[in-house]
Every structure is written in C-alpha cells, then in structure tokens.
C-alpha cells in the first residue's frame, strides 16, 4: 500500500552513510536545499531535487567528493510558499555559514524574497531558469545567478525558432502569447514585445488567471484569432488544461511552443493524447541516453542510495534538470577550489566566485559524461546568465525528442533590458554597482 515507504530505507542508509563519511573525511561541503515535495507543484520538486541530490551522492560515491571534499546536504520543505521558504533559508543558513553550495529554491517567489538576504549573508543564490532575471547583470546582483538562461532570452529564442519554421520572415504573422497571470508569466512579455517590434509580427497577449484549470474562453479566442503560433507560459495544472483545451477547439498542438516549465513529463502525461506533437523549450535534454544519467542510475541506484522513490522518473526532463543544476553547482565549487585551495570546503563567498567564473566547454561536459545535457556556459561579472541557449523539444506521445540544436536568444536585444532594469533596482535600493572591469 504505502508506495512511498519503499525506498526510505535507502534514504536512511544514505543519511547514515553521509554521517559516517563525514566522520572520516575532514572536509565537507554543505548544500542547503530549501525545496518542495508536496503541494500543487510537489511532483515537479520530487524529480528536480531527486536528480540534484542523486548527483551529489554520485560525486561522493564515484570521485569521493570534489577533490576529497564530501558533499553533504540538508533539505527543508517550503511547499512552494514564500514565507516558508524564508523560514527554511534562515534555518539552513546557520549550517551554511562555514561552507555552502549554491541555494536552489526552484521558486520565483522565494528567490525574490531571498535576493537581498543572500547578498547580506554572502550565500550564492542560483536561479536556473527562474527568479529575478535582471540579476544577469552581476554588477548589481553579485550573489544572484540566473544561470544558463532566462525567461526573456528563452522567449527570444522561441521566436527565432518560429521564424525559422515560418521560412525566415515573421512580418505580418500572428503569435499569441498565452501566459499564467503572475510574475512568472509576465516576465517574458517585455521580450515578446521587443521581438514583435523588431520582427513586425502581431502579438496577442492572453492572460490566464491562477490556477488556470479553466481555459475555455481563452482558447475560443485563440480559435478566433487564428494565430500562426501560440507561445505558451503555463505552470502546474494550467499546462494540461491548455493542451486539452487546444484539442477541444481543434488547435494543432505542433503549433504550440511552451516555456521550460511547461515541458516536462509531468506536464504532458496527464493530458494523454492531447499532448502529442506539442513543443517546448528546455535548457537540458531528457532521456537516459546521456552517459552521466545512465551512470548515475548504475552507480547510485546500484548501491541502493538513490533519492527517488519512483525510479521511472530517472531521465525525465526535471530529473535531468536537477542533475544539470547539481553539475553546475559542483563545477562552481571545483572552480572555487582551484583558486582558494584544493581539497578544502568552500564558503558561500568563494563559491560565488566560482559561479561567476564558470567556463564549462563541451569538452568538459564530455569529461563529466554530460555531453549535450546542457549548453556550454561561460559566466562573468556582467553576465551571470552565461549561455542564453535553449533547445526545442517535441512530445511524441511517449517521450521528448529534440527538434533543434541549441538556439541562442537575441542577446543584443534582450540584455540591455536587463541592464536597464538592474540599474533602476540599484537606484531604488541605493546599491553602488561593482565595476566589472576590475573583477577577476
């Protein structure tokens, strides 16, 4: 009966193992994890944090940690709730004082609430594909990292993909932007509008009220508008509802492109056949074909130390995203160790430096076994994003299939938007931006 009780032995064993390892190894690198596994988005959190923790365990098992430094972690349940997220952060902060990996909240609301605090506490805040996007400008936000890519760059990349599909010219075309009416959905509007002005297509914005489990009116309107493409920014139940509603009004799913929070197995499986042909952007690929993912399954689950209860989730988009997030975090620690001393635990401040000086090439990705799992990434003080590339994937009814290479958004168009926004923030808050030319 109790499905979730099965793998708990493993979890307990893992924590014991971590403890006993801790007794032997002198140095430990701590990861505070304010995550979520229950509530409306609990299923997403389970895959993401499962992948994240599995990679930490993998590094411990396979390489005995990072240059001998064991990776440890503690989770705290936030329920995707801002106030609880802050409480968790404060609770974990004490332990993270000596050494801390990047904090991943996987919640835009929580990361917003933590931006000032984390800078004060000198803990690096990672917001991979969510959170405050103008933190790309590291001169104003030294401790916040919207790594890999942001909503705006993603929207721009999607438009680029559509342009290619429509024969290289968008003039006179019509694109509907259907979005979750919240901070998350509204972030990309500015980019869509900029793209619309640049490429001269008509942009129709249609918001959906939270939670979005009813979209009859919106889709009838889309049917009436007859757009060439629908760019879709949903979250949670809104995703399945949109796919079903598209089917209901007969809108072809292969002319719908979603953001990366609409493109996981959790989003399409419940919609059944209605999801077939649907496309979504992603900054990490799905599948166990990636050598690293296959190796994690072999090493971690082979040793009975996996974090997931449901092994079928290994290789899903969100699991792989968790692994990717952990890969970047660990690489940042590796980088920091190169500067501040190999085999030592890194403080939050040192890891911050690592995150700001990441340079992960395809060659390095191949070494880790993460070939093509995520794009190349090179960060700097004035570019905390580091990549800005996404892939478009399509759901074939059973799995996600990549239908494009890495597409980069229009950096020249989007990044100035970030800088302007960051500047305004600095002015409101009275922050003096760092001089990036002096950072090394």
């Amino acid at each position: 009966m109790f499905k979730s009780f099965k793998p708990m032995l493993a979890a307990a064993a893992l924590s014991l193992a971590v403890l006993s390892q801790g007794a032997v190894a002198a140095e430990e690198q701590f990861f505070p994890i304010p995550g979520y596994r229950v509530g409306p988005y609990g299923a997403n959190g389970q895959s993401f944090y499962g992948g994240f923790i599995d990679y930490l365990t993998y590094v411990n098992l396979k390489d005995k940690g990072v240059n001998g430094v064991t990776l440890t972690y503690e989770e705290c349940e936030t329920e995707y709730n801002n106030a609880k997220g802050v409480e968790c952060y404060e609770r974990l902060k004490g332990k993270a004082a000596k050494s801390s990996g990047p904090v991943h909240t996987m919640s835009t609301g929580i990361s917003y609430a933590l931006i000032d605090k984390s800078a004060q506490d000198k803990l690096p805040l990672a917001m991979m594909g969510y959170g405050r996007t103008d933190a790309v400008d590291g001169s104003v936000f030294p401790y916040a990292f919207p790594l890999v890519t942001t909503y705006q760059m993603q929207a721009s990349a999607i438009v680029k993909f559509i342009k290619e599909k429509l024969g290289g010219n968008l003039a006179g075309k019509k694109i509907v932007y259907l979005y979750h009416d919240s901070a998350y959905g509204k972030e990309a509007i500015i980019a869509m509008e900029a793209e619309a002005a640049l490429n001269k297509f008509t942009l129709v914005q249609i918001p959906v009220a939270h939670p979005g489990n009813e979209q009859g009116a919106q889709w009838l309107k889309i049917r009436q508008e007859k757009p060439d493409f629908v760019v879709f920014w949903g979250w949670g139940v809104m995703n399945q509802t949109a796919l079903k509603a598209a089917q209901k009004v007969g809108f072809p799913r292969d002319r719908m492109i979603g953001s990366w929070w609409t493109g996981s197995e959790e989003d399409v499986v419940p919609a059944g056949d209605a999801a077939k042909g649907y496309m979504a952007a992603t900054w990490n690929v799905a599948g166990k074909e990636v050598p690293l993912i296959a190796d994690i399954e072999k090493v971690v689950y082979g040793a009975g130390k996996g974090n997931l209860q449901d092994k079928s989730k290994i290789g899903t988009i969100l699991y792989n995203r968790g692994v990717s997030a952990a890969v970047l975090s660990v690489e940042a620690i590796r980088k920091a160790q190169e500067k501040y001393g190999k085999g030592k635990a890194m403080t939050g401040e040192q890891v911050r430096w690592g995150l700001e000086n990441l340079n992960i090439t395809d060659a390095r990705l191949k070494q880790i076994g993460a070939t093509d799992l995520l794009p190349e990434i090179k960060t700097s003080c004035d570019n905390h994003e580091g990549s800005g590339k996404v892939k478009i994937q399509q759901w074939d009814g059973a799995k996600w299939v990549s239908v494009s290479g890495w597409i980069e958004g229009n950096k020249a168009l989007i990044h100035p938007l970030f800088q302007a926004s960051a500047k305004q923030y600095a002015k409101e808050k009275g922050i003096t931006p760092r001089d990036c030319s002096k950072e090394k």
């Binding site: 009780f5 708990m8 106030a83 409480e87 952060y89 902060k93 974090n307």
Partner: protein, 358 residues
Amino acid sequence: MLYREAGQFKTSYAADQQLFPIRQDRIGLIVLLAIAFLGVPLLASEYWFSAILIPFLIFALAALGLNILTGYAGQLSLGSAAFMAVGAYAAYNFQLRVEGIPILVSFICAGLTAAGVGILFGLPSLRIKGFYLAVATLAAQFFIVWCLTKFPWLSNNSSSGVISTQKLMLFGHELNTPVEKYLLVLSIVVFMALGAKNMVRSTTGRAWMAVRDMDVAASVIGIRLMPTKLLAFAVSSFYCGVAGALYAFCYLGSVEPDGFSLEMSFKILFMIIIGGVGSIMGSFLGAAFILLLPIFLDIALPFFAGLFGLPFSSATVSHIQILVFGALIMFFLIVEPHGLARLWQIAKEKLRLWPFPH
C-alpha cells in the same frame, strides 16, 4: 492561590476601569513585555528573529485584525490576505511617491488605505450574512490581487509585478539588522494590541458584540447596524493593512501580489479559530500555533523517524507533516472548540485555587 483577585479593592473609578484590573495580569504583562523587549534581543539568534519572531508578530497582528471583524463583530471574512496586500502596496507607493515621508506615517497611511478598501468590501455585509458573506469576501480576495497584478502603476511598472521595499529609515537611522526590525515590529504590535484591547471594551466594542450575538436584536436596542459593521470592517482592515506593510518591509523585503493568496487568508483564519474567536490573546496564541507547528513537525518528524529507525523519505515526511497538521487541527477543535484562549481561561480558574484546591 497564585491568581486570586480577592483582596484587590478598587477605590477609584480610574482603578476600576483600567485595562487590566487584576494585579497579577498587570505584573504578568509587564514581565512579558520586559522579556519581549529586553530578554529576547539578548538571547535569540538571527534565525529566531527573521524566521520566527517577526512573522509571528506580523501574523498575530493580522489575526488580531480579523478577530476584531470575525470574533467581535461576527462578520466572517476570507479576504484578510488581500487587505494585507493593499497595506503592503500602499506603504510601498507612499514611500515611493511622497518625498521624505517617514516610514511610520506611510504605515499609518497604508492602514488607512486598507481601511478604505475594507469599508468598500464591507458594504455587502449589511445585507448578507454568515457563510454567504464569507464567500462574498472571497470576491475581495481575488479582485484585489488581480488589480495589483493588472495596474502596473501600483508596482512602479515593474515588469513582473513584484515590488522590492525601500530602506527602513527611522529618525535618520537605517534599520537593517533583524533585531532592529524585530523591535520595530514588536513596538507597533504591542501598541496596536493594547489599542484593540481598549477598543473592544468600549462602547464600540460592546456594540460589535451585540451585533455579533444577534444583529436584529442589536438594532432593536438602538445600535445602528451600518456604522457599526462598517467600522468593524474599517478597523479590521486597518490592522491587516499595517500587518501587510510590516510583512513587506520588515519580513520578506520583496512581495508579489500572488503571495497574498487565499491560502494566506485561510492561515489567518485558522489562527483565530485555533487561538480563540473573540479574544485578543487568542490571536497571539493562534498565530504561534499555526506558524510553529509546521516548523516543529518539520524538525521533529525526521528526528523521531531516525529515533525509531523508520525509513522516511523527504516526500513522505512532507506529506506526513500536512497530514498531522490537519489531524491536530481537528483534534484541537474536538478537545476545545473555543480555542487556546479558552484553555488559558480554564487554566486561570484552576490557578485561582491551586495548589490548594479545597
């Protein structure tokens, strides 16, 4: 024995009408305040300030506001979080748009704005009662949050609708440590709680209670329903509005309209029901219970699981937390439907004789 009011003779009207007529209460309160103002800042860690004490005080204030409306005036409301949102956004805008306005003044203005909105949404209460009214206040909840999302002017044209609060300047000094914020919140909350305590025993408060007990009867004895009910909405929203401003400025630092969700309204409602409907102290007890219980469970469950060797995964622990939370609410209601404040009252009655009950 310890709590016996016998022998305390009042010789003047002033003494008889004071806020706390019993000497033990006065001493208790002074001790409590001394601990809160002096003891806690010395002892508590940063975690306690930023994660527990500040939110506790803010939510207690919001619960107090709701308690005035629901517990004293009998109007069930499910829109408290929305009024907090009004307060938060109003305080932000006053700070932003009025040059050099002191923070406390903008908090008061935020409360007044919330009070105005509260009166507007209180109007239906003149015709609608009970659960119908509760569901109608949901209109306020959803409508206000939607407005905050839709009018970019309110969030200073931020592309996402999120606002980051300005610096907390008090008499030329910037409050940025948790202790300072705590003391500011504490002072405001204590002041407003004493104000509420005073208000509910005044003519206004007695009129509210008459309306709560039976509004037809109240109107028969000459209480004008409209001003009474609307005043309750206004005062309640004022409290919620100030709580919202504190929530934004002293606790989270940046808020989005969606953060003031229905869930939060419910949380505030839980606080007064668990704490005690129609009790100032109940608001505090309830806020402590609702905020601390999940944290306690979060820490205690894995510990107990480890103790008994139960193999719990993180997901299961999280699920059990919610389950136990729900079960405890039901349990408390069965044991004491009138809330924690009632338990306190029973304890006081016991203390009157203890340790010599015969």
